[in-house]
Subunit: 334 residues, 2 copies
């Protein structure tokens, strides 16, 4: 099958760019130095590629992601890098037989983890982004509570998500400042693991023993500006279904139900995107270039990859114009 024959809109992964991204990160952070984050791609097929590259420690943001890996048996050290109060589904994952660790940041999440049969936890610490994580000064106490509940405490986790796309010149210093309280918490908590980081900070976060990166594989256009050595490997192929010559615009059959829109409109090379509606993107050529023709294919680059992927059922892996593989996006939903 050729790319031009795909039913549109279709998510397309450049297999060569993907492989280069995979290898670049594996060289920088081999084996368990990387804890790949499956939330970025939600696909067991990509998780298998990571395991094949030596990364057997994976993490996810949802129980569906963890369960999908655990039940098939992909990886041998899985982390729910998130809090959960869902005892039933946590139990399902914990009972899978795979080593499963869960983030906790409160007495309630500790109690649920223990009740669900989880054996190991990380204490999640607030390192400056207003989301989950306990105060650094509370981490030691929570670790004690977890141990008292029969849980093994492997260490700490702290995600500096607010620093992913910060100015490269200031990033190392800001990451250092964010990691300082995590180091203090780690000293109080004990254990061997300090988990955190992401695609935007992996090169400067030398405090974490493992980096939770995932976006680097498909790459997000907003990381492009921050000088990470990864290539855009994902785009959306759409068909031009209407051309308005007098108005000077064309319409592609992919809209805001096929694109994560929280970072704004997508981009099209050589064109200005006017707006997206449910199933359409209206655009016009830049610099008086020629309008496309009805039936032409167009490549749309999503503004935010992660929520784009979550709308789709599969990736089409391509080499040039040929579709060489199909990877199901089988870890979406909850």
């Amino acid at each position: 099958v050729r790319v031009d024959e795909l039913r549109t809109p279709a998510l397309v992964v450049d297999g060569d760019a993907f492989t280069r991204n995979l290898r670049t990160m594996s060289a920088a952070l081999p084996g368990p130095r990387l804890r790949p984050h499956v939330k970025a791609f939600k696909s067991t097929a990509i998780a298998r590629e990571l395991v094949a590259a030596g990364h057997r420690t994976l993490c996810g943001a949802t129980l569906r992601e963890l369960a999908g890996l655990a039940i098939i048996g992909i990886g041998d050290d899985l982390l729910l890098a998130n809090e959960s109060l869902d005892e039933d589904h946590l139990w399902e994952v914990a009972a899978s037989g795979v080593r499963v660790t869960v983030a906790v940041d409160s007495p309630e999440t500790i109690a649920v983890a223990a009740a669900a049969g989880v054996r190991e936890v990380l204490v999640d610490v607030d390192v400056g982004m207003p989301r989950c994580g306990c105060r650094p000064t509370d981490a030691g106490r929570l670790a004690g509570e977890a141990r008292a509940a029969g849980l093994e405490v492997r260490g700490v986790m702290g995600y500096e998500g607010h620093l992913m796309t910060t100015d490269p010149a200031a990033k190392a210093e800001q990451v250092a400042a964010a990691m300082e309280p995590l180091a203090v918490a780690h000293a109080d908590v004990g254990g061997e693991v300090v988990s955190g980081g992401g695609t935007g900070t992996y090169a400067v976060n030398t405090w974490c023993t493992e980096i939770q990166a995932g976006s680097y594989l498909l790459m997000d256009s907003h990381y492009g500006a921050t000088e990470v050595p990864f290539e855009q490997a994902l785009h959306l192929v759409a068909t031009v279904i209407s051309v308005n010559r007098s108005g000077g615009w064309a319409v592609a059959d992919a809209g805001l139900k096929a694109l994560g829109m929280d970072h704004g409109d997508p981009t099209i090379d050589g064109a200005r995107v006017w707006f997206c509606s449910d199933e359409h993107t209206t655009f016009s050529p830049l610099d008086g270039g020629p309008l496309p023709r009805v039936g032409d294919r167009v490549r749309i680059v999503p503004a935010h990859v992660d929520p784009t992927v979550a709308y789709h059922e599969r990736f089409h892996v391509v080499s040039g114009d040929e579709v060489i593989d199909v990877w199901p996006i089988d870890l979406r939903g909850w």
Copy 2:
């Protein structure tokens, strides 16, 4: 099952509000005066409710939506209110045995419709929103081309999507201005159908013979300001998974992968939403109200219903605190 027992994030439909919305519109636009648009809810279960209320003429924006209705045999006059170049899948729908009409706005879309075995078309006319639709003055010529290709031309379609949320005082006048060229095109094209309109304009669009409304059933918060007589019937139930007392914020387990974000952040009654990340919404109580507790449930109102629905697998229909039905969202994807 009680709402509090649902796995979160969970899409919840207030069954009573839904029924009131359904009845209000059916009273205003009975039977074929309404051509309900399934793009808003992507569910055969809701399509069946509409058919039971006397609306046997339905429309959709994607071939997946049309195929889902046609293959099961829901409705007996289905319109693809969109252009398609996908001959194979158009053929699938046309061959279903159900009456299928397709919008066309170019020689190319006419040729594909004819080749796919479609029998009837509407000529889609640009009425002021830069998207699909031919120039009004081209409509008659395209109708002739369609007839020459063996297609029955049922009339015209023109969607005034740019006027859905305009100032109510100016709306009637603006819709009239948009419908004027459609009426001219209709005179050139012939046929009995003038299809257009939506939830925001159904009350003032007296030019269309049928109104393509769908959002009124679940309702979008941005329509609320425009004085339509429909109630918000959909929200997202999430669980509070983390509370930061010193910072004054709480975190719910539903984020931008569970919410259409093109209209901005969602809202929570009595709270200020700080931001959404992939699987989290950070918020704080208004007016010094009490922080929730870890494990509490919270109701999140999406800023835009249609792309929110497209992330989910099912609606939970509730009456008070009881889940009384589950409606699959089985028409999503492409």
